[in-house]
Symmetry: D4
Subunit: 155 residues, 8 copies
Amino acid sequence: MAILMGSKNDWEKMKPAADVLAKLGVGTDVRVISAHRTPARHHEYVTGAEDRGIEIFICGAGMAAHLAGVTAALTPLPVLGVPLDGSAVDGLDALLATVQMPGGIPVATFAIGKAGAKNAGLFAGAILAGRDESVRKALAEFREAQTAGVPETPF
Amino acid sequence: MAILMGSKNDWEKMKPAADVLAKLGVGTDVRVISAHRTPARHHEYVTGAEDRGIEIFICGAGMAAHLAGVTAALTPLPVLGVPLDGSAVDGLDALLATVQMPGGIPVATFAIGKAGAKNAGLFAGAILAGRDESVRKALAEFREAQTAGVPETPF
Amino acid sequence: MAILMGSKNDWEKMKPAADVLAKLGVGTDVRVISAHRTPARHHEYVTGAEDRGIEIFICGAGMAAHLAGVTAALTPLPVLGVPLDGSAVDGLDALLATVQMPGGIPVATFAIGKAGAKNAGLFAGAILAGRDESVRKALAEFREAQTAGVPETPF
Amino acid sequence: MAILMGSKNDWEKMKPAADVLAKLGVGTDVRVISAHRTPARHHEYVTGAEDRGIEIFICGAGMAAHLAGVTAALTPLPVLGVPLDGSAVDGLDALLATVQMPGGIPVATFAIGKAGAKNAGLFAGAILAGRDESVRKALAEFREAQTAGVPETPF
Amino acid sequence: MAILMGSKNDWEKMKPAADVLAKLGVGTDVRVISAHRTPARHHEYVTGAEDRGIEIFICGAGMAAHLAGVTAALTPLPVLGVPLDGSAVDGLDALLATVQMPGGIPVATFAIGKAGAKNAGLFAGAILAGRDESVRKALAEFREAQTAGVPETPF
Amino acid sequence: MAILMGSKNDWEKMKPAADVLAKLGVGTDVRVISAHRTPARHHEYVTGAEDRGIEIFICGAGMAAHLAGVTAALTPLPVLGVPLDGSAVDGLDALLATVQMPGGIPVATFAIGKAGAKNAGLFAGAILAGRDESVRKALAEFREAQTAGVPETPF
Amino acid sequence: MAILMGSKNDWEKMKPAADVLAKLGVGTDVRVISAHRTPARHHEYVTGAEDRGIEIFICGAGMAAHLAGVTAALTPLPVLGVPLDGSAVDGLDALLATVQMPGGIPVATFAIGKAGAKNAGLFAGAILAGRDESVRKALAEFREAQTAGVPETPF
Amino acid sequence: MAILMGSKNDWEKMKPAADVLAKLGVGTDVRVISAHRTPARHHEYVTGAEDRGIEIFICGAGMAAHLAGVTAALTPLPVLGVPLDGSAVDGLDALLATVQMPGGIPVATFAIGKAGAKNAGLFAGAILAGRDESVRKALAEFREAQTAGVPETPF
């Protein structure tokens, strides 16, 4: 499981993805890889990932967020995109730049910012649950605990 | 593989998901299920789906598109959402209503309309490819053919 | 009168609905019920509400706000939706996810945030005023006091 | 039940409100009243409405849609607003001009255009159903028929 | 010259209109008049304004800003609208609710917030300058001083 | 009264301004002047306008509509801006480029497209009405006829 | 001068760039290269371009338009981006995905669609004009003819 | 190399353009010139710039940002536009007012705010690199250092 982000500063927003995967017992390889500033590093990491056992990519980026899209261009593995806010237009740019992929190269997109990062982690867990009984069980427990943790009233 | 849509009229836009999955050798159970007009049918279908062998849901809906979100609320299986246009605001409503899921219940969202439906199908194939060699091979062939099919010039 | 909200943190924004209904002499049953994280609790509460004397639902939720819509799917009673801000896109997601309901299942929608919560409470009062003389009188007094409370100048 | 619209041309979009109310057995008084071009007619109609037995207002208008808001300013009765498209910005102007009412004067807002008009009619029926057994029964039948009318598949 | 605003809290944003008119030697009658909460006060003030010597209205309001539009409905005098921010959607609602007036009843609209208030004041001065030599001279001086006040460099 | 537009193709959308001014008995000097393609013509026309008896400018332009703003920069006379649609983003670009003038140089902005052109004409009439009895009378008659022309029902 | 576009269908919208460059006497190498479907072709073309005499890239793409950005990541040469419409959200996605590049890797962005393609061609000419007298002369003539071609009136 | 901005307050946001050009060894002439408040100064500066050795303009402005467009109208030299935020709508107005130039007069537009200013500086460097070996070398070094400066992980 690779978690890529375009800048060191994105880590605070992407950490929920790693945290929730840790709860599901899934280890992550967390990297700063910019599609724009480090294209060679990106190419090398993504094309070699399958051989290193990477099954899923989670990519977080802001502004004209191209990281998830260009990752999906280089691999048939599932690519999950998390648009990050922080720009003048509050992440709407990153959302459209991530979700509006033309037909043929899919990116599974989640909500802008931390909520999206957490959900990308959970969704990656759901993919793994289809082939890994321990993740499936951990995910079921997570969901049950989540449901049980909702209080009856706000007082 | 379930393909759900909120209205019979959505089929024209969702068909690319079924078409691309057929090319990957994956059969689909295509249903009209409205989260709003047929909530009981929705509950019964989704909660019983795992037992009937459904591994992934692809949900297409327009306007205040709740279908993917309420499906994800009822199952830990991967749920893919396709926002459909046709409303006054051109599918921006369906996009935000699908992608902006709060943390805890993920929906993997794709582009508005037909391109998103096709990509949801391809992404579902990518999930299955992780556990099914024939899908993995078919997906690789699809990607190769797609690359080869791009002409060198537009003339 | 039920006031439902998707998260404990929504209470600060939804409280004006309860406050204004209290001024009109209308008691409220305030609950945290997430359409996504607690679907069973939601189904049980909404389908059993009429028998417990609930006449109107006020539902507040943020982001991909589905709470009002899925409540309206389960009951013919009036459902009032309050889109809550706090997301990256400032509640525009919640507004569109609440107001753009497809034809057939109505949700009466109010402004984003506290102003909308207050107005949902007043509107619920206006519905009850049609069958309850004391609410009608209290609402008339509220409106008169509100008009009288507007100062002539801003100095 | 008054159905007001700002222009004769709005009738095609507002007719679904009258149609669905007719199905529920509720008669409607349909009027062209512009908040901008006929303010005196508007004032007279709204302030005299309660005495003529009007219980609910449904107001449809486009562009800077003020009709619902200024109606709500003149009456404590429930006012339902339907934003109409047709402007350069596709009804987003009418939606925001209708739904974003400041706290104190509520307008219950529905989706842009025909879907919103139909839902405003259904919602008005839901209000009346609280005090009129025949409307309650007709509404229940409408909802049942609507659910039954959703086909299982789109083919 | 009337400066109307929908709420006492709008004064901070509308003050630049009064300030710039004072510099042009034009007195202002500043009032809090809500189109929604004080419709009778609004009707009385606007319809009687011409007799009291009011030549121009400047109306500032936020959210679903109807104040300028309903003022223009009641008077043939020039009405200037200033959309005010402060809502969840940052004044875009007030802008569209003010500027998108249907054909027949014009509102001259200015920028959102303080810049718009200042410009509405200057524009009112430009109208008066057409019939009042002292205002024309004051406006010319204001413009010259403004031009002279722009520094050559930002250091 | 000058009516300027950035392109010959804008005439169809700007004609309502000339038409309504003709009804008020006000003649217009209609010109194609592009702020971008004919800056010298623009400078010459605007700076010499007052001497030729021009009292008001109505400027229509689309996309990054600068015509009204740069006209206002060159004259203290009232400048009315009409944002024109036709671009990919439906005139939202022209609206913001016209209305969001920084403090100091005002442009009175009207709705996007034909409705805005008509209202700009009417507003120009309202300015002239303050110093010209015949325009004042014509405007009053226009408003009365407009009010009388609204039918009671849409049937 | 390379003109790249993501799909054969983009040619109709990108042709104005080639046309205007032809008028300036500048030849173009027009290619269909998708950042998503043909990443290897893209990498090879861009990294080898300087050696083949390419001095400037013009990249047109729609939806989540990454073509210009990933081209800029691979070359220090000037990259001009043209966002293309055709998506549900009318090219706003392509605009934000092209213009909102993070600091460090610049893309010079032009208007959505044909106008942007024409201007990208003109701008490329302006760059070349700095080092090529014949282009400078041709550009000056183009601008003069353009100015002369604006009619005085729209009639 | 001229760096123009509409207001002294824009300097903080435009400084990254001057900073990055300084790193490339390119001197800049930094000026406050408002298209609206100082049109004569603008005309004089731009039309005389080529004779003073200016080869490229970088123009930063907010709100209805006309500075880049009217500069491009007066010169065939490359004009780079940087939309600045700070308005109620977060720079979306400045972005559209800068990038949506009609065909014929190009403005190369960059991201909203500081990132856009930095990229405009880099892009100006890329233009100069085509004719100046020392800038070309400095730009290559900047890009290499930038790539090398991206850390492998965010921890």
